[in-house]
């Protein structure tokens, strides 16, 4: 081979050191907040207690106790040292890992401070985190299916809401939770089909199409709810899926109650997570789906049917969204209330972006959002002065930072949102 066209391609180095500096300052800032905002008002020798077992568990672990002040100082110093190293020479490609570590320090420090002199049950909180993350993660998985094929779907919220309403209605009439769930999935699929036809066949602007479906879903479900479900409670009383502990596994200390004592929605979410990850990246189906989302024309010239692939992906995504809708009524509340999804579908999309269109990344983001949710309600119980709304805002501030590209740019599929025109 001639040396003139060497297969090696030197990457031109990143010039701007801005990001490195911003990160370093952020680390130090987090450390300073730990010291200056959290330590005042605490007394020497105060102790924070973390519960490690649920009251209902057979095996009871002793609670974990830490000395509040030394722990806070230790975390602050560690953050500041990492920040100093980051400023001086940077962590290069490990920067994001270090960022995760420092944020972890900060959250832990926050918990230590919030529960100072009191007791906080960690297992209970992790369990709440997981269940709060279910609809968000499912919404994100739905979004990943659609967007990896190149169709933007902001109608996931509407699909979830419709799924929730339909599952309450069908579940109540048949008194069968499984039929209710099936109806929710079908309802999601139907709305997704509308979105697919509008955006794939008629090449409508996909944001407009999604918005229209969301408004339609809000209107329809609110109408049916006000006209029938709230008037006749027999139509709004579906059976629910209770907790289904998995034998043996649910007895493992700490992990058991968190992971293996849940409703089927949690288990299905985990199964979907693994299945979708393998399907997207290890199968022919996934390779073609991703190809259609990246470069539809290339896929077309290789004999792949772009339209069919996109229809399939969007409808599958709608089914996942409908299933997530079922969680609200059959898995959680046991009844339908107007606009009860409360933006979880949109948050799912944020999780999808945060997770860089990868199932496990999206799950991680879903956990983060779920954690903020869980934390907000715990702090109210602990009587902390910070309004819970501020805590609930924190993950979205993080999402905006991700979108702005500070923590490495999220890269959507190249053809995301662009209708394919066959010549």
């Amino acid at each position: 081979m001639a040396t003139t066209t060497s297969a090696f391609h030197r990457k031109i180095e990143v010039v701007s050191p801005t990001r490195q500096r911003v990160m370093g300052i952020l680390f130090i800032l987090l450390g300073l907040i730990l010291v200056f905002f959290f330590t005042p008002g605490l007394s020497q020798g105060q102790i924070t207690t973390f519960g490690l077992s649920l009251a209902t568990s057979d095996i009871q672990l002793p609670p974990w106790q830490v000395h509040t002040l030394p722990t806070l100082y230790g975390l602050a110093v560690a953050s500041a040292i990492l920040g100093g190293i980051q400023l001086a020479r940077g962590f290069g490609r490990y920067t994001n890992w270090v960022l995760g570590l420092v944020v972890g320090f900060f959250i832990f420090g926050f918990l230590v401070w919030a529960a100072a002199g009191k007791s906080l049950n960690l297992v209970g909180m992790f369990n709440t985190t997981l269940s709060r993350s279910v609809p968000i993660t499912l919404g994100a998985l739905s979004g990943i299916l659609c967007e990896r094929s190149g169709v933007v779907n902001i109608a996931i919220e509407g699909m979830m809401l419709t799924g929730a309403m339909v599952s309450a209605l069908v579940g109540s009439i048949t008194q069968n939770a499984w039929l209710g769930l099936l109806a929710a999935i079908l309802a999601g699929a139907l709305l997704a089909l509308v979105h697919a036809v509008l955006s794939i066949k008629y090449k409508t602007n996909q944001i407009v199409s999604g918005t229209v479906i969301n408004i339609f879903a809000t209107g329809l479900t609110s109408y049916i709810s006000a006209k029938f479900l709230q008037v006749n409670q027999a139509l709004n009383n579906p059976p629910t899926f209770g907790g289904t502990p998995i034998p043996l596994l649910s007895e493992i200390p700490i992990l058991g109650p968190v992971l293996f004592n849940n409703s089927i929605f949690v288990y299905v979410m985990f199964i979907l997570l693994f299945v979708l990850n393998v399907a997207l990246f290890q199968t022919r189906w996934g390779l073609r789906l991703r190809a259609v989302g990246e470069h539809p024309k290339a896929a077309d010239t290789l004999g792949i049917d772009v339209f069919k692939t996109r229809y399939m992906a969007v409808v599958l995504g709608g089914m996942v969204a409908g299933f997530a809708g079922g969680y609200f009524t059959l898995g959680s509340a046991g009844r339908f209330d107007e606009v009860m999804t409360a933006g979880r579908g949109f948050i799912g999309l944020a999780a999808m972006i945060f997770g860089n269109w990868n199932p496990f990344g999206a799950f991680g983001a879903g956990l983060l959002f779920g954690f903020a949710d869980a934390l907000a309600s715990r702090l109210a119980i602990l009587g902390i002065a910070i309004p819970s709304q501020f805590l609930l805002m924190a993950p979205y501030i993080a999402t905006m930072i991700v979108l702005a590209g500070v923590i490495g740019r999220a890269r959507p599929p190249a053809a995301d949102g662009i209708p394919y025109e066959k010549e």
Partner: protein, 518 residues
């Protein structure tokens, strides 16, 4: 012997255009058949019909003497036809193997990708035909020349016997073109047949066994390369005699007009695109910037014209510091700018020709008096320029979007050259234009030079650079690796510099000709 492929009477109409008019074409097995024609002559339409992307309105296709109907690319692939498109059909975030196997994947348990097996097949093909490539590499990390090999491997992986290469040399350095020709020869030796689409006369004469010339959707004729020369082919292509060599009087460089010192510029991703570049352009000379696309030329030009932030370094225009000055200041100091992407940066397509002709000066008398626009003056100005620059448009009120590419470019040229300018910055001024328009624009640029304008010309067409430039600066990975006077700027030497060969080594290799390749 029956030809492997025969097209009979292929006709394709688009609204208002007869793209293909009863075209006949015959490809023998083991032949390289060149399809020569200007942009818009109908070559690509014809090949898209053959590949199943369009349906012909009339005509028949025969493969090995059997009539076939091709509805889709999948049909074409099944008939053993493969096409390398002008714009590569590769997915940047996929590996070579994934791109090659897409649509015809190796799988285990019916559905799970078997990347190892596919990679082994890619390796086998790349050895058999001399197409060196790493199956595990991601496309986005590969240079274009290698990406093109991946496209060819894609066809061979599908066992294609008829390979269509659509303008394959447009993105390559001269050395990469030689490598490609080597690959093409090895392919026909092993029994493949190739249709080679091009508008470059020299290349066609070098590689083809038979040349068919198309003009305005019709076959003008077929010739063997030994019976033809560049002049004959050019006049067949254009339909009249063409002047291939430009008359270039010796330059009389005067004072430096543009001085660039240690320029440092980043691209959109914050990566260094222009790496400590210094040069100057004097009045009455043309400085050509040669380089393979994506080596920082775009960013350099944008930085000089005030469209991109300069991180470090200085730009001086007529002695005045214009580093990071707004484009309007740079324009008012006497800069004409023909941008690389005429539709995106050069014109407002939704505006009429008349408005586009005053985009640089609309706010000044005589076109505006205070806040009022003088529409009558603007219209007269436009009509005069349309006439002077031979812009083919129904009227000065027609929208720019309705003009052909060549005429759109003429609108820009008219706007930029009709002003009193001291510096002309021209980026890819003739990309995608027909021979006639190219000839015209080149003459206009030379005309400005003899009027004492300093010209900075960036082009990836090496022929254009060599024809026009008094000095040639070669850019490679953001740096100017050499500035060569026209007399020493041979195609081989500049080509090696463009490919990143150090100047000293390049000079030695050119001296012991023929240039070693492969």
């Amino acid at each position: 012997m029956t030809p492997i492929l025969e097209l009979r009477g292929i006709t394709k109409r688009f609204p208002g255009v007869l793209a293909n008019d009863h075209i006949n074409l015959t490809l023998e097995k083991g032949q390289i058949h060149a399809l020569l024609g200007e942009n818009g002559a109908g070559k690509t339409t014809l090949m898209n019909i053959l590949y199943g992307l369009y349906q012909p309105d009339e005509g028949e296709i025969f493969i090995n003497g059997k009539k076939v109907i091709i509805h889709s690319p999948a049909d074409a692939i099944a008939q053993g036809i493969g096409m390398v498109h002008q714009h590569f059909m590769l997915i940047p975030v996929f590996t070579v193997t994934e791109n090659v196997m897409l649509g015809e994947e190796s799988t285990r348990f019916d559905g799970f990708l078997d990347r190892e097996q596919a990679a082994a097949r890619v390796r086998a093909i790349s050895e058999q035909y001399g197409l060196a490539v790493d199956p595990e590499a991601y496309i986005k990390d590969l240079p274009v020349g290698v990406q093109q090999r991946v496209e060819i491997i894609k066809l061979l992986y599908r066992k294609a016997d008829i390979l269509i290469l659509d303008e394959p040399t447009a993105v390559l350095t001269p050395q990469e073109v030689e490598e490609l020709f080597g690959i093409m020869r090895s392919l026909v030796e092993q029994g493949k047949s190739i249709i080679f689409i091009s508008h470059k006369l020299r290349e066609v004469l070098e590689i083809a066994d038979l040349i068919t010339v198309i003009r305005r959707g019709r076959v003008v004729g077929s010739v063997r390369p030994e019976e033809a020369d560049q002049y004959r082919l050019a006049s067949m292509m254009v339909g009249r005699d063409v002047q291939l060599e430009l008359e270039r009087p010796p330059s009389e460089p005067g004072e430096p007009v543009l001085e660039v010192e240690n320029l440092l510029v980043a691209d959109e991703l914050g990566q260094l695109a222009v790496d400590h570049v210094s040069f100057d352009v004097r009045s009455g000379e043309i400085l050509g910037i040669a380089g393979v696309q994506g080596n920082g030329q775009t960013e350099l030009i944008e930085a000089i014209t005030g469209h991109r932030h300069i991180l470090e370094g200085r730009v001086r225009l007529l002695g005045q510091d214009v580093t990071n000055a707004p484009p309007r200041i740079i324009t008012e100091l006497g800069t004409g700018y023909i941008p690389e992407d005429r539709q995106r940066d050069g014109l407002v397509l939704a505006f009429p020709v008349m408005d586009n002709l005053i985009l640089r000066t609309y706010y000044k008398p005589p076109f505006a008096r205070g806040r009022r626009m003088e529409w009558e003056v603007i219209r007269q100005h436009a009509e005069a320029l349309v006439k002077q620059y031979d812009i083919r448009t129904p009227s000065a009120l027609s929208l720019c979007s309705t003009l052909s590419g060549g005429n759109q470019q003429k609108v820009i040229v008219a706007r930029e050259l009709s002003r009193p300018i001291r510096l002309l910055v021209a980026a890819q001024p003739t990309r995608g234009l027909d021979v006639g328009s190219i000839e015209y624009i080149h003459q206009q640029i030379l005309e400005k030079r003899s009027q004492g304008v300093a010209v900075l010309l960036a082009s990836t067409e090496l022929d254009e650079i060599l024809q026009l430039s008094d000095r040639v600066a070669v850019m490679y990975r953001g740096q100017i690796v050499a500035i060569v006077p026209a007399a020493e700027a041979t195609k081989d030497y500049i080509g090696l510099l463009m490919a990143g060969v150090p100047a000293e080594e390049a000079r030695q290799r050119v001296r012991r000709k023929p240039v070693e390749i492969g």
